[in-house]
């Protein structure tokens, strides 16, 4: 599994598509409406999935652990949402916390971890 992280609009998906030869059809993009397709070659916007989890009392980390075998060969992409001030809203705080714990887990499981910055790659692992 290759894990990609970075702020909003930093070119994560474009880079993943080029680097790992992923086509548009192979990308599953999560939305805050929920739902995730673990067998996908590439899962984008994981932070949207964690937001849905927070609002629906689901544990994103547990769900990912349970489906580990299905995403072990995927490219996973999550937005870095960890550098701002502590959010005022309780659900936004829980979202940041849950996304952070999931990212730490995915980083530890990943074959490579890449951070995108202004469209440029930074290899973290």
């Amino acid at each position: 599994m290759h894990f990609m992280i970075g702020g909003a609009y930093q070119g994560k998906l474009e880079y993943a598509k080029k680097k790992f030869a992923v086509t548009d059809d192979e990308v599953f993009s999560c939305t805050e409406a929920g739902g995730i397709k673990f067998g996908s070659r590439c899962i984008n916007k994981i932070e949207e999935f964690t937001l849905w989890c927070v609002r629906n009392d689901a544990d994103a980390l547990e769900i990912f652990k349970r489906h580990r075998s299905e995403w072990m060969d995927s490219v996973l992409i999550c937005q870095d949402i960890f550098c701002g001030v502590v959010p005022l809203g309780a659900d936004m705080r829980a979202w940041r916390d849950m996304t952070g714990r999931l990212c730490a887990y995915l980083s530890s499981e990943a074959e490579s971890v890449t951070r995108m910055f202004c469209g440029l790659e930074q290899r973290l692992k």
Binding site: G7, Y9, G11, I81, F82, R93, T99, C118, L120
Partner: protein, 189 residues
């Protein structure tokens, strides 16, 4: 100071707020320019007396470092006309420039949909036409917030300018707590 002559070099400096980006950028621009003319291009348009007082102080500080200040809030490429040939420009910041271009008429509150493209073209022309250029931008993409669509569009537009400049520049630097992280190229000043 090094006696090395630099041949046409552009640098993008990003990072969070209050990381010392401006001070670092001034140092980079000063060294790149060598004996050439150096301009500090201030893109923030002052709105009140407090802004004015602060700006006057910064202007005096920079004059001591040999910078001539140009206040250019829009149409960034026009700073080439205002300056001597073979000059070095420090553009501070892309963030303010985009905001000014988005709202050319501060009274109407209407965002101009062509603003980002206009900024992109102007910045790339400046990068190509200047002897050296140093661009300062703000990294505002990593917080846990849901913004309104206006702010979200602004973030997306600023990111597109950052990415375009990162591609065009020889060196891309992130300042983190005053520490320099090189994302592209190097800086042997």
């Amino acid at each position: 100071m090094s006696k090395v002559m630099f041949i046409h070099m552009n640098v993008l400096i990003s990072g969070g707020c209050k990381n010392g980006k401006t001070g670092f950028a001034q140092e980079v621009a000063r060294k790149l320019s060598g004996n050439g003319k150096r301009y500090y291009v201030a893109t923030m348009i002052p709105y009140d007396g407090e802004d004015r007082t602060r700006i006057t102080r910064h202007r005096e500080d920079r004059a001591g470092m040999g910078f001539v200040t140009l206040e250019i809030g829009q149409n960034i490429v026009s700073c080439l006309d205002a300056a001597a040939p073979k000059s070095t420009f420090l553009v501070d910041s892309i963030t303010a420039l985009l905001l000014n271009e988005l709202f050319p008429d501060t009274h109407s509150g209407e965002a101009d949909p062509e603003a980002a493209e206009r900024c992109r073209v102007g910045l790339l022309k400046l990068a190509a036409g200047a002897e050296h250029a140093v661009f300062v931008t703000d990294y505002i993409y990593s917080d846990a917030m849901r913004y309104d669509s206006f702010t979200e569009n602004y973030r997306a537009a600023l990111a597109s300018l950052d990415c375009a400049l990162a591609e065009a520049c020889d060196t891309v630097i992130e300042l983190c707590a005053g520490t320099v992280i090189f994302h592209k190229g190097e800086l042997t000043l």
